[in-house]
Amino acid sequence: MQIRPILAALRRHRLATLLIAMEIALACAVLCNACFLVVQRWKLIQINSGVDESALAVLTVNGFDPSQAADLNARMLTGLRTIPGMQSVTLINQVPFGTQAGAAGISHDPGSFKNTIGVVDFVLGGPGTYQALGLKLVEGRLPQADDYRPATNFAPPDAQVLVSRALADHAWPGESPLGKDFWCDKLHFRVMGVVDHLARAHPHDWGTQATEWTVFTPTLPGGSLAGTYLLRADPHDLPRVLHNARDAVAKIAPDVVLDQENSQTVSDLRTTYFESDRIMINLLLGVIVTLLGVTALGIVGLASFWVQQRRRQIGIRRAIGATRGDILRYFQIENFLIVSGGIVLGMALAFGLNLLLMQHYELPRLPVHYLPIGALTLWGLGQLAVLGPALRAAAVPPVVATRSV
C-alpha cells in the first residue's frame, strides 16, 4: 500500500485532519500526565507503615487532669486487659495515620538551630509497645527494661532510641547510626537501633522524602504518656474487641471523655487518611476513560463522514481491481498517519503540561517511558475506532462507480 496517495487525499481535508490530530495530541498530553498522577498517588497510598495494621487499634480518652495520669493509666491498662480476646494493651502517644502527637525538629548539635536534621515524629511507647506494634529491627538492639524512663519534658532525658531506616539514611548517610547522638533543643538522644519501617502520623504533610522520619522512644507511662492506648488483638476479633473496649471506658473511668475520632482500628485510620487520594485517583481514572471515549467517538464520527463522502471513489477503486482488504487498509493507514502526527505533537504537549504541573504542584518530571505507552494506547484506540467505518467502506460494492450518487 502506498502512502503517497493517502497523503495527497489528506491534503484535501486539511481542517478535519488537523482537528483529529489535535484531539489526539491533547488526549496524549492529558493521558500521560493523568496516568503519572495516578501512579504518584498510588505510591503514596501504598506506604508501608511498618506496623501490624490489621491487628492494631488505638483508643484515646481525654478530659483528665495531668495529675491523675498515672492513676488513669493503671486503671485503663488493668481494665482493658480483662476484655476477652485482647492480646495486649500498652501506652503509645501516636499511631500511623492517627492524630499527630509529637513532631519536633532535631539537630546534630545541642540547643542550636544550626546543623539541623529535620522535623521528625517522636513515637513514645511504654513497655510492650514495641512488640505490640510488630516493628522489625534491622540493626542494633531492642529496648530493655531499664531503657524505659519517665518523660520529664515531652520525652525522657538522655533516652536510648530506635530510629527508622529512612531517618538513619538521611541523618547519617553512609555511616552506621548506632551510638550516634542527636538533640531536640537541649534534650539529648542516642540511637540504639534501627527499625525497617515506621511511618509518621501524617506521612503526607512532610513531603515524599520524610514520610518515615520517626524516632521510637521507650518511655514509662505517666506524664505526657497517658490517655492513648494501643490495643492488639487477632485481626478477625479486632472490631469486636475495640467495640467492647470503647464501651468499657465508661465503667473503667467514668470521669474521662472517649475521643471517638481517635479510637479506631489502624486499618480504618489508614482508609480515612487516604480517602481524598483515593477519590483523586478515581477521578483521574474517570477522566482518562471518558477522554479516550470522547476521542474515539470523534474519530468514528469523522471517519464515517469521509467514508460516506468517498463512496464513489471507493466504488471506482473497487471496479478497477482493488480488493476489500485494500480499501480497509487504506482507511487504517490513513488513521495511523493522522494519529502519528497527533502523537508527535502530543509528546511535546505532554512535556509542556508536565513542566507546568512541576512548577505549581511539586510533581517530579514525567518519566520518558510514559510516552511510548501513551503512543501505543492512542494508536490502538485509533485503529479500534476506525475499524467500523473502514469495514463499512470495504463493503461498498463496485457498482456504486457506475451510478450517479
Binding site: A16, L19, G63, V119, V287, G298, F305, V405
Partner: protein
Amino acid sequence: MFAYYMELALRSLKRNPVLTALMVLAIGLGIGASMTMITVLHVMTNDPLPERSAHLYTPHLDPLPLDYTHGGNGPDPADNLTWPDAMSLLRAHRGVRQAAMAGGTLLALPVQSGLQALYAAGRYTTADFFALFGVPFEYGAGWSAEDDAAGAHVVVLSDELARKLFGRADVVGRTARLGELDYRVVGVVSRWDPAPQFYADSTGSQFSDIDTFFLPLSVAVNEDLPVSGNESGWSDDEKAGSSKRGAAMSWLQFWVQLDTPAQVADYRRYLVNYSAQQKALGRFQRPPTEAALFGLMDWLAHRNLVPNDVHLQLWLALGFLFVCMVNIVALLLAKFLRRSGEISVRRALGARRRDIFVQLGVESALIGVAGGTLGLAIAQLGLWSVRHRPDDYARIAQMDPSMLAGTFVLAVLASVLAGLLPAWRACRVAPALQLKAS
C-alpha cells in the same frame, strides 16, 4: 427567520440522532465536569459576610526579630498578633468597632443528667465582636466592655450548644459549665456560620468549624484556657515567649470596622506609626512599613484557602471541556459539510453567506442548550459526590442561581464557539460546483 432556522436545526438534528446524541453527550460531560469544579472553587472563594465584608479589615504587624527564619510548612507567626499589640490596638479605638479573638475548645458538661460530656469549639473575644460581625441574637445580648475589663465569667452560647446542654434555647441567666469553670449565660445566638470562617486562625478547618460559645478574652487569659489555634513564640524567655500575655508570642486575631476610605487611610498610618514607635522602643526590629491592613476578601486571597488538589481538578475539568469542544468542532464540521448540497440549493435560491452562517449557528446553539441541560444534571451529580468527600469544604459545595445560569451560558457559548469554524467553512461552499457535482 429565527423560528425557521430553529425548525431547520431541529429537523437536521433529528435526521442524525446518533451524531446529535454524541455531541450533546460530549458537551454535557465537559460542561458538567467544569461546572462542578468551578462551583467548588466559587463557594470556596465566596464572600462569607456579603453585607459587611467591604468594611471589615484585619491589621497585621511584624513583631518577629530580624534573624527569625520561617521554617517550612508551618503557619507564619506574623499572621497573628501578640497580646500587648492586640490590647494596644483595642485601647486606641481607631476603628468604628474592633475586636480581638482566638479560638478555643472546652469540655462542656450537660446540665441534664445522663448525657455525655462533649467538646465544644468556641471563641474567646472582646465585647464588640457581636456588633462588628452582626451576629444575630436569639435571646439576651453580648457582654459589655466593663465585663471584658473585669474578666467577668459570662458566656454567649450558640442555639445548638444551648440545646445540647440545657435541652432548650432560652437559657439567659442560667449557669453553664465549660472546662473547669462556671459561666453565667448572657445571650444565645442563632445559627451563624460564615464559610470560610475568615476570622479564625489559619490552622483550623476553615469551612467546617462553627463557633458554639463565646467567652470574654480576658477570662481566657486570666484562667489560661486552652487555645486551639497556632501559638508561636520566638523568645527563649519563658514569660515573653510562651505565656498568653507574653510580648513574643502571637496567637490573637484582630478585626476592625472602617466605614470610609479616609478611615482606612488613617488606620494604615496609625499602624505604621505604632510599629515605628515599637521599633523605637526596641520591641520591633523590622521596618514599620511591614505593618499591613487587609480587607476581608484580600485577606482570604492572601491566605489562599483553596487546596492544590482543587486547582488541579479544575484544570483537569477545563482541559476535558476543551477536548470535548475540539471533538464537537470535528463532528459539526462533518455534519455541516455533509449538507453541502442542501446549503448550495439555499445559496442558489438567494440566501446570503451570512444567512447560512446564522442558520448553522442556531443549530450549534441548540446543541449547546441540550448539552447545558445534560451538563447541569451531571454537575449536580458531581457536586453530590463532592459533598460526600471527607474534605473540609465538602459541606458547602452547592450551586446557587448564578452558577445555574452560568452553566447554561458556558454551554451555549462553548457550543457556539465550537460551531464557528465549521459554519464558516460550510458557508464558503461554492454552490455551482456542488450543484454540478450532484
